[in-house]
Symmetry: C2
Subunit: 119 residues, 2 copies
Amino acid sequence: MTTAIPLVQLEVPERTKGCCQAVAEPLAEERAAELASLYKALGDPTRVQMIHILAAASEPVCVCDFTAAFDLGQPTISHHLARLREAGLVTSFKRGVWAFYQLNPGMSETSRGALQLIA
Amino acid sequence: MTTAIPLVQLEVPERTKGCCQAVAEPLAEERAAELASLYKALGDPTRVQMIHILAAASEPVCVCDFTAAFDLGQPTISHHLARLREAGLVTSFKRGVWAFYQLNPGMSETSRGALQLIA
DNA sequence: CTCTTGTATCGACGGGTGTCGATCTAATCT
DNA sequence: AGATTAGATCGACACCCGTCGATACAAGAG
């Protein structure tokens, strides 16, 4: 099955000494942390839906629309929006009594890539 | 302030009644949950690095290589690999005493998309 | 000014998560 | 067989997270 020439230089070894082979250089620590915290920010169904709503909206969305769209208390909505904001995925502003949220136009390319999955 | 003609049918309202406007149809619940749990599986720097290593490897990677690559106890390594496996991102097999892990060749398109960010 | 209302913040509770040491299992070596 | 070893599993710990009710804050309305 396996070889033809000395190209595949190592099959799964037969209990030689150690099986250990070299492994890719790890990502820069900050890069791994950046990716992980980005993924973590998206690791909740409510926040996924929020991003979906914001991605589909042509204008900033009022918090009251989120509280109407989800079966969750207002503090919880506020909490999720804050987490998205801390992750740099959304920005917000206040107009009168209302607070409006939108996708952060200046989000990183990485973030933009992650959001693309949320159709 | 507000109107001129019925063209931009709503600017940010001026404290009329409610600010609420219609919002996009939510994603199917299972879809949101699928995305969230996928993101959650990737929401840890160690697991991001593991995926990076597996994506760069041309062959299945032995667990002992992971334990060597990270400054973490062996049970912790095993735990993270198990989480990646439960998320459908990797598969594993045993050869002799060793366990080898690789990216799941049959992972979903969604998963593949999420992994693409991990260069 | 006082009342009302939209949001944010706080404190608490239950459940999940990353980590470890200890133990179990299975495969191999002697 | 007994000893060794790679890996998984278990139990425990500290911590984080999603949720809620209560409260604080800010901006209008009356």
